[in-house]
């Protein structure tokens, strides 16, 4: 309420340097209360708010319930699964499932390998997609639209379609036939190197190569998001950098990259966690025993005797525990990163 609105000049009761207290005719508290709270409008709003809250709460429950039940079942002993009265709280709590998965399935080794792989892929993909997205957003060059259509194309082709040929490509890896040529595959006498193709499977190479070229899992989406983000960045920023004598690359490194950190964290979060839980590329490229990765630990440890009445449930519980242990590090990452996830997306203003 402003003192100016009252018809008479207000009576000043107290005045200090910073604040002023004025006396004016005000409707009584009860009247104000009635108008504010005892109206249909307020009732409607209140009902809506309660309904909204309950709805969100319910959906949150639906999302979180499987996690709770998985967590509870991971602590259950063998006997809990044949006991009908046990639902969420185990009667014979035990840590055996965890212990055996760590001891027998090589969880720690898989954790280490996957952390290295996901960190590498996440960082590389974030940077590369940022670069490509920037190129698409800010520079006009011939063939830009066609190239962008190709990015969308890589998104649309289901990767299962390429499963076999992707395996073959990296099993007999060759860059445009150069190795074949140098290795004497075309002409017998012309032989500079000993091999005609490289077997890159069962190493980090296939994923590294795909990441470096922005073709790995869902990279089309990242490029798209980055491009939309950079379209919202005003051109004046770069122009002022050019005026100061920066070239395009230094502008990118010094001005654009620091600016796009929230978006990059978002992309990194996606890239890291989707690489982490990915089972497609890891099973295609890592065919033999040797490199333990997350998909390999989803199996039943031999020391846990599952051959009894509750077998189905018990094995399911063990598999779920594997799943839980796989995502456990991700939960930590998510807790730290989720703030950026939403901020980054909001600032990106993905429009049109």
């Amino acid at each position: 309420m402003n003192a100016q609105t009252t018809p008479q000049a207000p009576k000043v009761t107290k005045e200090t340097k910073n604040s002023i207290r004025v006396e004016f005719d005000r409707t009584s508290k009860w009247e104000r209360f009635k108008i504010k709270y005892l109206s249909l409008n307020f009732l409607g709003m209140a009902i809506f708010k309660i309904f909204r809250f309950l709805l969100l709460l319910g959906i949150s429950y639906v999302i979180l319930y499987p996690f709770f039940s998985k967590i509870s079942s991971s602590f259950m002993g063998r006997d809990d699964f044949v006991d009908v009265t046990v639902k969420l709280i185990p009667k014979y709590p035990t840590l055996d499932t965890y212990k055996e998965i760590i001891a027998e399935n090589g969880y720690l080794e898989a954790l280490l390998n996957t952390t290295l792989l996901s960190l590498f892929c996440g960082l590389v993909q974030t940077f590369i997609c940022c670069m490509i997205g920037y190129g698409f957003a800010k520079y006009k060059f011939k063939g830009r639209n066609i190239l962008f259509a190709l990015v969308i194309f890589t998104m649309v082709v289901p990767h299962d379609t390429l499963q076999l040929s992707m395996f073959m490509k990296f099993r007999y890896f060759d860059i445009l036939g150069i190795f074949n040529l140098l290795g004497g595959g075309l002409i017998e006498s012309f032989k500079l190197i000993k091999f005609t193709s490289l077997n890159l499977n069962n190493s980090y190479w296939p994923l590294a190569l795909l990441s470096i070229s922005g073709l790995a899992f869902k990279n089309g989406l990242y490029i798209f998001m980055m491009r939309q983000f950079f379209r919202g960045v005003p051109d004046e920023l770069e122009e002022s950098a050019y005026l100061d004598g920066y070239g395009p690359y230094r502008t990118f490194i010094k001005i654009i990259l620091p600016l796009s950190v929230p978006m990059m964290v978002t992309i990194f979060l996606f890239a890291f966690s989707w690489q982490w839980t990915d089972s497609f590329y890891t099973t295609v490229f890592f065919t033999q025993e040797g490199m333990l990765l997350m998909p390999d630990i989803v199996k039943i440890p031999k020391t846990l005797d599952t051959n009894y009445a509750g077998q189905n449930l018990y094995t399911a519980a063990i598999r779920n525990t594997c799943g839980l242990m796989i995502v456990a590090p991700l939960i930590v990452v998510y807790l730290f990163g989720q703030k950026y996830l939403i901020q980054g997306i909001e600032r990106s203003g993905i429009v049109g």
Binding site: P66, I132, Y134, D160, M166, L209, T277, V351
Partner: protein, 324 residues
């Protein structure tokens, strides 16, 4: 960089300078997208071509390394469509299911985004929870969930104890609505309703799980609508309902198009859908079965057709605010 000498060389040079800046920028653009171009030409294109090639061939991997291709024409395709009994069935039922899911996902995510965009108690917490599935319920976890008996048991222990009433419909269910059906049973409403609600809840879990990214995209879109428009609307006396349909909906319609297409792509290419998992079982059967390639190209063509239809239908209704 421009030192004194450049400054002394006067007007005629100026034109050339600006032109070279354009060229320089075009070149810089190429360099920024170079990784993708190289990767696409060297890796992706051969992979795609190989995949198409394999689908027309018989493949034999030799023990010494290397492989032999034998051209067999359309045999793989014929086999996929006419010989393999379950492929066409899986394909039709899978596509039907997805077509049913896609509007549900888009509508749900729009609805949730509108809710999560409002100011309220615990908004940050709700947002954090809603995006949990984006990060956690993908890939491996989704695969583990897909064949999950435990959760079904957890939520439908009655049916196991009393017989097998519900078991047939609980194969793909991740959460069944025990508590819900328990509640409804106590309220003594008809069993159809109970089943319907339980089914809806089941489906909603799937839908929630798959609508995280869409929700994010919608949220971003909602954030980009100028508050001034809403303000002027409320001054003109529009209700929230009217504002939604007259302002929010048209303004967000480009996002609806983006999300519809994204949803189609995402759900058609996710390895948890039935067609994809069928194709990968075929692939695993014979260790690199080429019929799997043929199948997935058939599937891909159908996906492209559906994306085309969705894009064509939706873009007729999309409203673009004039920019620039």
């Amino acid at each position: 960089m421009n030192n004194a000498t450049a400054a002394k060389q006067a007007a005629p040079k100026k034109m050339r300078k600006t032109a070279s800046l354009e060229k320089k920028k075009a070149r810089a653009g190429w360099i920024f997208v170079l990784p993708f171009v190289l990767g696409f030409v060297i890796l992706y294109l051969p992979i795609v071509f190989d995949s198409i090639k394999y689908s027309f061939n018989e493949i034999n991997i030799q023990t010494g390394g290397g492989y032999v291709l034998e051209y067999v024409g359309l045999k793989n395709y014929q086999e996929a469509i006419f010989v393999d009994a379950s492929f066409v069935r899986t394909l039709t039922s899978g596509i039907k299911q997805l077509i049913f899911d896609i509007p549900a996902i888009v509508i749900f995510s729009l609805f949730m985004a509108v809710l999560l965009n409002q100011k309220m108690l615990g908004r940050a917490a709700f947002r954090a929870i809603f995006f949990v599935p984006v990060i956690l319920a993908t890939g491996l976890v989704a695969e583990i969930d897909a064949g999950n008996q435990l959760l079904d048991y957890m939520s439908s222990s009655e049916s196991i104890a009393t017989g097998s009433e519900q078991q047939d419909n609980s194969v793909a269910e991740i959460i069944t609505a025990t508590d819900l059906s328990f509640l409804f049973n106590n309220m003594a409403v008809g069993t159809e309703l109970v089943e319907y609600v339980a089914g809806a809840v089941n489906n909603i879990y799937n839908i929630i799980n798959r609508s995280g990214v869409q929700m994010l995209i919608f949220l971003a879109g909602l954030q980009s609508i100028s508050p001034a428009i809403y303000e002027s609307c409320s001054i003109d006396g529009a209700t929230t309902w009217e504002t939604f349909w007259k302002i929010t909906f048209p303004m967000i319609s480009p996002m609806i198009l983006v999300n519809a297409i994204y949803t189609v792509i995402d759900s058609f290419t996710s390895s948890s859908n039935s067609v994809m998992s069928y194709i990968s079982t075929v692939y695993d059967q014979a260790g690199g079965n080429v019929i799997a390639s043929a199948m997935s190209w058939i599937y891909f063509i159908i996906v492209i057709a559906i994306i085309g239809i969705v894009a064509a239908v939706l873009s007729a209704y999309v409203f673009y605010q004039r920019r620039d």
